[in-house]
């Protein structure tokens, strides 16, 4: 299955909104731990869900560069692109 950037972004905002622990608005700039209150255990759960959705693997190393939802988007887009599954 292929995806475009808007679909990826929409899906991420949807998933993180479901998992946030604090009532705040969710945007690409939202910091996952600091602002949404999702702890490392929760982050791993979200990642598993995203991996299943996008059919890819986000390796442990990639976590070290993740702080905001935008960073997760970058990690996913990079992998979709290298798999040839990113449109536009």
């Amino acid at each position: 299955m292929t995806w475009n950037r808007e679909q990826v972004q929409k899906k991420l905002l949807e998933v993180f909104s479901q998992h946030k622990q604090i009532e705040v608005d969710v945007s690409e700039a939202s910091e996952i731990v600091a602002e949404l209150g999702i702890d490392s255990l929760g982050v791993m759960e979200v990642l598993a869900e995203l991996e299943d959705t996008f059919k890819l693997t986000i390796p442990d190393d990639a976590l070290r560069n993740i702080n905001t939802i935008g960073d997760v988007a970058t990690a996913i887009l990079t992998r979709l692109e290298s798999d040839g599954r990113l449109q536009g």
């Binding site: 731990v33 600091a34 598993a48 390796p59 070290r64 702080n67």
Partner: protein, 600 residues
Amino acid sequence: MSAPPPRTVAQAIEDAAASSSTGYRFLEESPDVAPFHSYADVERMSARFGGAMQAMGLRKGDRIALILPDNADFVFAFLGAVRAGIIPVPIYPPTGLGKLAGYLENTLHIVAKSGARVLLTSSEIKKLLGTIQAQAPGLDKVVAVEGVRTSSDKLRPEKIDLDDVCFLQFTSGSTARPKGVTLTHRNLAANVHAIMPVGLSIRDGVDHGVSWLPLYHDMGLIGFVIAPVYHRNPITFLPPLLFLKRPARWLESISKYKGSISFGPNFAYALAVKRIKESEMEGLDLSSWRIAGCGAEPIRAENLRAFAEKFSRIGFDERAFVCCYGMAESTLAVSFSKIWTGVRTDVVDGETLWSKGRAEPAAESSPRASGIVECGAAFEGHEIKTFAPDDEESARPLPEREVGELRIRGPSVMQGYWNDPEVTKRSFAGGFLRTGDLGYIADGKVYICGRSKEVVIVNGRNYYPQDIEWEASQVEGVRKGNVIAFGTMKGPSDRERVVIAFETGEKDEAAKKRLEADVRKAVQQSVGLTVDDVVPLAPGVLPKTSSGKLQRAKTRELYESGELLGRTSAREVDKLDLVKEIAKSQIGYFRHRLFGKSDD
């Protein structure tokens, strides 16, 4: 069982090399990758790492810090250092998620305290560590592990004695003041003997361990790296983050490799119940699982029961549960419940337990009944006794069923904290180690009721209120030194809830809300812990002792009973006293910050 003559870990590695059929298997995220290293291979690989460390100029007794996210790298480096007599100092790798500044500070403190001359890490983490070398005066170099994997330097034999230091375990103490538990080969030999043949009736070379536990922590490192070397047991490792992402992989691995032993903190069992889907259980068989150890954080019997209920369908037997009490200061294990008996609880009158500190048996049907999990008796050659916290000489052990501080003595107990005679002295009382845990003994068995140390444990990790309070104090608008953080088991959660109460001069409600959000963000960002509740209070509301020290336990009590919010001022003091008090708390605050003095 009479103990065989103790061996050093170095000797155990050499002895295990005779085994080419058992060893370590390192699973990776891709199910197709599962390299196996026999103990013969482990001996060769550890010699390579040890030789490389000697070639870096390290000598017996020098310290080497290890930040190695890859399990295989970590195991070979750790065992290699030990064989060369070099003292490894495991440090957890950065997890990311925006906590790098706090991580670097903590790492720097550990490197400095241990006096490590070399830090061995991956080339990727080396980049993140940046200027750490410039900030740690004793640190000669930061080495990337990739080059060491193929090193050809030979290990020069080194004579290792039982009383030599084997490694340092930095696990406890707040960030500003890390404490390095110093373990000798004799400590390890004693505890491994207590764990393997005595506590768990392990069959040498047969029982198969499966572990996702982080190796920089005692349960993973001693339980699944060191103890198996002594008894040549086959071990299958999963990356810790893979377990957190895909808990099903834990049970799949037990099923696939016919694992008979696996351990985890309470949260791991709760996570498996919550996250593993019915579809993921198809085709799994857990009937080989003979010992399901649970320790490292308070055990909730209901979590374990839920696990047994869910997974009995695929062969899990609830008798496999072994409830454990342990701590790094006692190498790893202090006591285990008897194998193949499952979770057993002592039903006591909750009211009497908390108000009078006495565990009086109660009927299960009683509304005040409280079930306390049994963690077994002291190992042979070891003692566990309870004392009043102010019994500085451990002169008068409390009778059975009286709640007191648990104190332990025996060959597994550390000599002390690395390079910290003062803290070491405070940690012992009349020859017993003060565990800081509250509990009682009944029929020779240990029951843990709480902690006198104010540590908050979430998902198996210890957090120090001092660290949380310091971060909250940084926020503009919070009265410096007037912050209390604590954990509470009350409330709708299967884990300890984290609460921060702070004083502020701010009266505007909207501004207070913003301040709450700022405090939450500051702590979550730097400590990486989700804060469950933030409570802004007017100046003077937090309870203090007559000498002006904040009272954490009292604050928790007020919070739990719902009285904290209703308080206007706790301290009826005149203006002069108030000024003095503020000055004092400011001084305490700066002392804590600048000199790392603990404020407990």
